[in-house]
């Protein structure tokens, strides 16, 4: 076979493998998102949609303090939960990657089981625990620690934060664990030999070399929390009004698909902007140098 024919065959097999995936995703994910985008320029008149493009929806949403507040609240929740997950997961990933030998695989599987079981069951379990007549309140009352149930355990921002952190913790542990696995112990030993103390080894060697995993996990949790719709609704109660529930209302009860689409797209764009900014800042920072140098 000539080289040219081999090249042709490679190209054909590449096309055969990528083609169906590209068509499938473009047709059923990218196209629906594009349709949603087009709706954001239309208007609604009572119960029918008027297809005359204008920026009106975006202007209206941007000028509305409530919507701005909801988007900011979503981004803030994303940052808070991602930071909490990072704080909890970092030592855990360090320990599993560097110290556990025999049960490493088992520990990771254990971490993934609740994740695969789905949001719904996990949220349900937390409602059982946190409810006003639930497990935790009744336990505390039975033991005589409190005399009246603490109502704020469920349907409060506190509950939302606990359950969101719980839900997305594995998405933080996995990239961090991978970063620690890739971190060569001899770097740490070399720094120690050169007279570095524990703390400076951590800040000058360990943290910079796991920085990429930290940022990856942070952004993943951020994106998932901002987009979460079920948890605030089922755990947050009246404090759980989020931008996603506002979007849902516009598509459900209010039948205002155009404004809903504009709000959805503004949320997508602000998420993308935040992720781009953090990635860029990391890439330009001294920590990012390690990533750039490796390329």
């Amino acid at each position: 076979m000539s080289l040219k024919r081999i090249d042709m065959k490679r190209r054909l097999s590449l096309l055969a493998l990528t083609g169906p995936n590209i068509v499938f995703i473009c047709l059923f994910c990218a196209a629906p998102l594009a349709v949603l985008f087009s709706y954001s320029f239309y208007q609604v008149d009572f119960v029918s949609i008027i297809r005359e493009p204008s920026w009106d929806n975006y202007i209206r949403v941007a000028e509305n303090a409530t919507y701005r507040g909801l988007i900011l609240k979503a981004l803030l929740y994303g940052i808070v939960i991602a930071s909490l997950c990072a704080t909890i997961a970092y030592p855990l990933a360090l320990y599993i990657a560097k110290k556990v030998k025999v049960y490493k695989a088992a520990l990771l599987t254990l971490l993934l089981i609740p994740l695969y079981t789905g949001d719904l069951i996990r949220i349900f379990a937390w409602r059982v625990v946190l409810g006003a007549e639930g497990v935790l309140n009744s336990l505390l009352m039975w033991l005589g620690i409190i005399h009246e149930p603490i109502w704020a355990l469920l349907f409060s921002p506190f509950a939302t934060i606990v359950v969101l952190t719980y839900n997305y913790l594995p998405f933080m542990v996995l990239p961090l664990w991978a970063a620690f696995e890739a971190l060569d112990n001899s770097y740490i030993e070399a720094a120690m030999d050169l007279g570095c103390r524990n703390l400076s080894v951590f800040f000058k060697v360990v943290l910079p070399l796991t920085g990429a995993g930290l940022v990856a996990g942070f952004l993943m949790v951020f994106v998932l929390v901002v987009g979460d719709y079920l948890t605030p609704q089922l755990i947050g109660g009246s404090s759980g009004i989020t931008v996603t529930s506002a979007i849902h209302d516009m598509f459900g009860a209010a039948f205002d698909w155009p404004t809903g689409s504009a709000l959805a797209w503004l949320l997508l764009l602000s998420m993308a902007l935040f992720v781009t900014l953090v990635t860029y800042a990391f890439y330009k920072s001294p920590w990012g140098r390690g990533v750039r140098g490796a390329k």
Partner: protein, 261 residues
């Protein structure tokens, strides 16, 4: 770091794992408690709640719907995921990053926005909601997971085995059928099991794209929105135990696939 540092980290790891499993354990405990209330003190052991669930016709119907979604979704994601994983691990080409980005796009778009985009789109092209709309939307969400699992096995397979097969005169198709496919079989099995579990667990997307036939997750959600009962505990425990079994089998396959390291 000194030894007591590691000991502290070990204690810490136990605490976090305790936190991860505590809600599920409590759910299990109260599914066996005889009281109507899900509260302490415990009143006695019973299997009644499980008995109730196993004889609930509505639950059985929901389970049938769930299964008639899960099997097609598993087939779609396994086929498409295998293809994507092969591309990501065996081909170098321009636009690979773009391909990867497209593949994970449905995972990073908030599920609610993804779901309403689906509904708007279906409305525009005039397709009615039904089981097959759930197949497609679930498959898109689950595809990235399956691809990563299959790719994680393919990464560890020595490429020289495939090169050797080519050097010995096999056509690329023969190499694929006789060398690559048998080697990635464990990855495919693991990916399909996980796909099955994720399909069972999926709620948001199923809720929006399912028509009249409602899968189990949608039924459970509408039940517990207003009222928690010990029989729901029992149902949730059955789902968790079933999932654990499937996930353990899946991990067994996956790790067998990456053994020769």
């Amino acid at each position: 770091m000194r030894i007591n540092g590691w000991a502290a980290l070990r204690g810490y790891t136990f605490v976090v794992y305790g936190f991860v499993y505590l809600p599920i354990m409590l759910m299990g405990l109260f599914s066996l408690n005889s009281s109507d209330l899900i509260a302490f003190p415990l009143t006695g052991f019973t299997l009644d709640w499980y008995n109730q669930i196993l004889h609930d016709e509505r639950i059985f119907k929901g389970l049938l719907t769930t299964m008639s979604v899960a099997f097609p979704v598993t087939i779609i994601t396994t086929v498409f995921g295998s293809m994507a994983a092969l591309v990501l691990t065996r081909h170098q080409f321009k636009g690979k990053v773009a391909f990867l980005a497209l593949l994970v796009l449905p995972f990073f778009v908030p599920k609610l926005i993804f779901a309403i985009a689906q509904v708007t789109f279906l409305n525009d092209i005039g397709i009615h909601k039904g089981l097959y709309t759930v197949w497609i939307s679930q498959a898109l969400i689950i595809l990235p997971f399956v691809t990563i699992i299959i790719a994680s096995v393919l990464f560890r397979i020595d490429k020289r085995l495939e090169e050797a097969s080519g050097d010995l005169g096999a056509t690329p198709w023969q190499t694929f059928c006789r060398v690559t496919l048998p080697l990635m079989k464990n990855g495919i099995m693991a990916g399909s099991f996980i796909s099955f579990v994720l399909s069972n667990a999926e709620y948001t997307v199923s809720y929006f794209t399912s028509g009249r036939a409602q899968p189990l997750s949608v039924l459970v959600a509408s039940d517990f929105r207003f009222n928690l009962s010990p029989s729901l505990n029992a149902l949730a425990m059955l789902i968790v135990v079933f999932n654990i079994l499937v996930i353990v089998v899946s991990e067994w396959f996956r790790r067998r696939g990456v053994q020769p390291e």
